[in-house]
Symmetry: C2
Subunit: 182 residues, 2 copies
Amino acid sequence: MSSTSPEVATRVARGVEPPVASGAPVEADLGWALGVVFRRYAKASAAALEGLPGGPRGYQVLATTSSEGPKRQLDLAAQLGVDRTVMTYLLDDLEKAGLVQRRPDPADRRARLIAPTDEGHEALCDLERRLRSTEEEVLGILDEPERASFRMLLQRVAMKANAVDPLHNACSLAEADDPAST
Amino acid sequence: MSSTSPEVATRVARGVEPPVASGAPVEADLGWALGVVFRRYAKASAAALEGLPGGPRGYQVLATTSSEGPKRQLDLAAQLGVDRTVMTYLLDDLEKAGLVQRRPDPADRRARLIAPTDEGHEALCDLERRLRSTEEEVLGILDEPERASFRMLLQRVAMKANAVDPLHNACSLAEADDPAST
DNA sequence: TATTGTTATACTCTATAACTATA
DNA sequence: TATAGTTATAGAGTATAACAATA
C-alpha cells in the first residue's frame, strides 16, 4: 500500500532531486507529537464525557472550582485557556444542567463566583473515574513509572506555559510557584 | 487579586457547601496540561513560522516529504492528522509559494506525489532552526536530560496514538513498529 | 476611566457532499 | 464498485465589538 523507495532512489541517483535524508523525521517534531496526542486525547475524552455540557471543558470547570473553591469567570477562563465569551456560554450550559451555580461575589458586585452544586460535586466523581480510564488508554504504551514521569514533566511544562500566557493575564505570573522559572 | 479562602471556609463550616478538597487539582488533569502546552506551542510555532503558508502544517509537509521521500496526499493527510480536503488547500498554498510540487504517481494515475522543490528544501533548514529555538523555549523549565526524556516519552505516546487513529486509516496499524503495542 | 460579564456578529477552521478521473 | 483528489458548502468553534453594570 506504500509507494516510494525504488522510484526515489533512481531519481536521487540521477541527481534529479536532492537526497532524502534532509531533515529530522516528523516523529521527532514536538509540534507533530503534541498535535497527535492532543487530538487523540481530545477525541477520547469527549467520548468518555458524552452528555456532559461542554465536554472536557465542562469537566475542567467542575474540577477546578471543586478543588480550588469558587472562582470568578475571568479567572476561570484564563486558567482553562478559553475566551471569556466562551466561558459565558459554557457556564450557561452547565448551570442549565444544574451542575454549577453563579453567585454574586460579595467583594465585587460586577463579578460572579462559580461553584459546583451538590449535583455537580456528585457528578464529578463519576466523571473522574471515566477520565482516568481514558488517560490510561492514551498513555497505554508507557509502563507505570514512565507514565508517572511523563505526567510530571508535562505538568511542569504546562504550569510554566500557563504562567507565561494565561490568555494575556499579567498577574498570574505570580502563580508559577515552581522555582527555576525561565 | 484572588478571592476565595476565608469566605469558603465559613460556608463549608456551616455545611452550606461540600468541602473543597473534592477532586484532584486541574493541574493534574492530563487534558488540561495537554491543552495548555499544545496551545502554547501552537501559538509560538505559528509566530516562529510567520510567512510560511500553512504555518506549522506547512512545515510538517516539508519535513515529512523531505525526510521520508515523496508521499501521496492521502498518506500525508493521515500522517499529519488533517482531512484530505484541508490537505488540498494546504498544498495549493505551498505549491503557489514554490515550496512543493505535485507530481503524477507513475504507479497510480489518480494519485499525486508530493515532493519539496529545491527552494522548499532550502527553506526547510531555516524553518528547522526557527522551530528548534521555539521548542527550547516551550520546554524551558526542564533541564537537558529531562527534555530528552520528555521528548522520548511524548514521541512514543504519539506514535501509538497515530497508529490507533491516523484519521480512520486502517492499514497504518502495521506501522506501529515499536513492540509492546497496546 | 477601566473592568466584569453578556450579547450579537463576524470570522476561521474543519468536515460533509457531490463531482471527475482513474482503478 | 471503490479510491485519489478537487470543489463548493455547511457547520462548529472562536474571537471581535458594542453594551450594561459596577469599580
